[in-house]
């Protein structure tokens, strides 16, 4: 019985030793690469490659701007950067010295895009600036993705193209 007890106890120990040896042997007996073969950032980047592939376009792009009745408006096209529906709960942006607010919450479908419409009360100087070429300043966005609330302010927005400016002068 002594032999059986001994064998029973030795086998798990051997299994652990063999597995640890195998871990080291497959990584050139280097402690660093056996503990962490790649940095967490590298693995994360590799994991997120398929996610990033869906978001080749910029997250926000200015589509249109102008005046409608007693209101000025700016529309932005927003692409979902993640494979899940993104709800833009509230948003505001500064352009031409006026604060534009998101008219209503919008849902950006997974891998798709949606139009965000911002409006501000009419302001003669802002309308003139818009005609000369609207430059969007600070954008504040409050979004929700699968229960996760993300709020960020961006100061760097995509500059309007010449075609955009021509369309705003209409």
């Amino acid at each position: 019985m002594g032999v059986l007890k001994w064998v029973l106890r030795v086998i798990p120990t051997l299994l652990f030793i063999l597995c640890i040896l195998a871990a080291f042997a497959t990584h050139g007996f280097s402690l660093k690469s056996t503990l962490f073969s790649a940095s967490p950032e590298e693995v994360l980047a590799e994991m997120l490659t398929p996610l990033n592939a869906t978001s080749g376009e910029e997250f926000l792009k200015i589509e249109d701007a102008g005046v409608e009745g007693d209101k000025m408006f700016v529309t932005l096209s927003a692409c979902s950067p993640v494979p899940a529906n993104v709800t833009v709960k509230s948003a505001s942006l500064y352009a031409g010295g006026s604060e534009f607010n998101l008219v209503e919450p919008a849902v950006i479908p997974a891998g798709g895009s949606a139009i965000l419409r911002f409006e501000a009360p009419f302001n003669a100087s802002s309308a003139q600036q818009a005609a000369a070429g609207l430059e969007v300043g600070k954008i504040t966005l409050k979004m929700e993705v699968k229960g996760v609330e993300v709020e960020f302010q961006s100061f760097a927005t995509p500059p309007p193209t010449a075609a955009d400016r021509r369309s705003w002068r209409r």
């Binding site: 029973l8 996610l51 996760v148 961006s154």
Partner: protein, 206 residues
């Protein structure tokens, strides 16, 4: 009752049913999935951790980290998980063999040795897993309290919250944690393991 029926009844009484069940469950547990989960967000969440002593899985938007990526993350951890899998499959097989071997009076002693050796192994693993989870959650909570800009408040069961601010960026999310049905199976198998040990003593003393 005839002599044959009496002999048959005596034989069945010698079979350690608890051990057979515990052995089968212990043998299957390493391949039955996670024992505990943590999800950041709702509706599947954006990030999940599935953990058991036999595996750690990370999911981002329900996309599971591949085996190759897991090996890359920490080869040693991956190989240790494999060692745990093999060891517990071995303990399950030993418990099953011991419980079945108790039918034979000739091998009664070996049967007792096998059952005594393997019956409580799963119980210790369950206890160790819960203790490690408590320690890990305590350390994570303490670490985030010491660091500014982030807050993680969670325990091993229930809901918690995660919040992080950095410059113009703020993120907050609910965290859901809980044990899975596989963990319940592990507890049942542990209880059966204890019962098998007690029953084996009774068989041996008869």
């Amino acid at each position: 009752m005839t002599t044959v029926e009496k002999a048959s009844e005596r034989l069945w009484r010698r079979l350690n049913f608890f051990g057979v069940l515990a052995g089968i469950l212990t043998l299957l547990l390493p391949f039955s999935g996670a024992w505990w989960h943590l999800t950041l967000g709702t509706d599947g969440g954006i990030f999940s951790i599935l953990a058991s002593p036999f595996e750690f899985k990370f999911l981002i938007f329900n996309k599971q980290i591949s085996t190759a990526e897991a090996v890359q993350l920490s080869p040693l951890l991956w190989w240790l998980c494999l060692a745990f899998k093999l060891c517990y499959a071995y303990f399950g097989a030993a418990l099953l063999a011991g419980s079945l071997l108790s039918l034979s009076e000739k091998h009664a002693e070996s049967a007792e040795t096998l059952v005594r050796f393997s019956s409580l192994k799963l119980l210790w693993l369950v206890v160790a897993f819960v203790v490690v989870l408590f320690i890990a959650t305590f350390l994570v909570n303490s670490a985030t309290q010491l660091m500014g800009g982030a807050l993680i408040d969670f325990s091993i069961i229930g809901t918690g919250k995660f919040a992080m601010s950095s410059g113009n960026f703020h993120i907050s999310a609910p965290i859901n944690m809980g044990f899975t049905s596989t963990f319940a199976v592990a507890i049942i198998a542990s209880a059966l393991g204890i019962a098998s040990r007690i029953y084996q003593k009774r068989i041996s003393s008869v």
